[in-house]
Symmetry: C2
Subunit: 200 residues, 2 copies
């Protein structure tokens, strides 16, 4: 059986959101499962001295237009939120908590809801109460709250950041197909081709 495709992303990344919207298509066209791996790009920036898009004025002007244009091309709604970017440690912890307790499918559905809350509805998902509100639909909010502050979830996030750096992963979205790294929403067709062809 073919190996799954790893999908690294940051919940504060607009291109990560667009890639998440394409996740079903990637799986359908590649015949591979996607493994969702949210992480904190900011933690990698700190290690590598890089800075968010917004810190580079010309790039940021370009990116705002490009994000909107890319979303229109994909037929996906997007509203660039304010504040942006935000630190999404709580969103990541909620994801991994649901993954641990309920499995991949509910965790992926939560990822979709978190992205949509931020990039469509403009909710500030850096705030714990916002994350708890989203993750608590159909669940005991006390348990979610406990999960968010659980030491093992904090450790999980530190581990995935360290893993990203050690494996050369720094962006969002960032895909790994059979060991081959692909950075960017605009590489989705290459991800699919690589998965199908075994590379070129």
């Amino acid at each position: 059986m073919s190996e799954p495709i790893e999908f690294f992303f940051d919940f504060s990344s607009p291109y990560g959101y667009l890639a998440q919207c394409a996740s079903k298509r990637i799986e359908d066209e590649s015949g591979r499962a996607l493994v969702f791996r949210p992480y904190l790009m900011g933690a990698v920036f700190k290690e590598t001295g890089r800075a968010p898009l917004k810190n580079h004025p010309l790039v940021w002007d370009y990116a705002q237009n490009d994000v909107a244009r890319s979303a229109r091309r994909s037929g996906v709604p997007i509203n660039l939120p304010d504040p942006f970017p935000v630190i999404t440690a709580g969103a990541c912890r909620a994801f991994y908590y649901i993954q641990n307790t309920e499995g991949d499918t509910p965790a992926r559905e939560l990822a979709r809801q978190l992205y949509e809350a931020y990039f469509v509805d403009g909710k500030n998902i850096s705030k714990s109460d916002v994350v708890i509100d989203i993750a608590s639909k159909g669940r005991d909010s006390q348990l979610i709250q406990a999960g968010l502050t659980d030491e093992s979830m904090k450790l999980k996030l530190r581990e995935i950041t360290a893993e990203a750096i050690s494996r050369g992963i720094f962006g969002s979205p960032f895909f790994i197909v059979d060991g081959e790294p692909f950075w960017g929403h605009d590489r989705i067709d290459e991800v699919i081709d690589w998965a199908n062809s075994g590379g070129w």
Copy 2:
């Protein structure tokens, strides 16, 4: 008649080289002419505080693999040169000198030769004697040498850098189609679609 597509690039940019290799395809598939506009990305970096790919270790590791992979996908040869990147003021001046004295077609052919010298044959095109050697084929090398040091060519480069900054152009390749900016070799299909459809 449709407006031409502006094609900004730096002679030291591997993705600019790959885009130049695709220039005929872009023109054929878009039904538009390309206007070649070499410039010095480094001068824009200075203004905007950005840094070359090579200064970010994780990004640079990724980019070396991605450049080679993108070239294989396009069926184009590439050898990442050493030293890299280099300052290509002389190459730009030679391009504009030939454009002024002989017109667009010979200037484009020179651009192709300069890119090939650097990214296929590993010649250091930051050196004046290398640029003069390439540009002098079938020409009087004394005239080329005079062109490279001509004040009007130096002014041309300062002007195009200022123009790039004022128009929000910062990368290589960077295309403008009917006022719409597209950054990156991986946006070539979008450039063609935008030119054909009038946008989305």
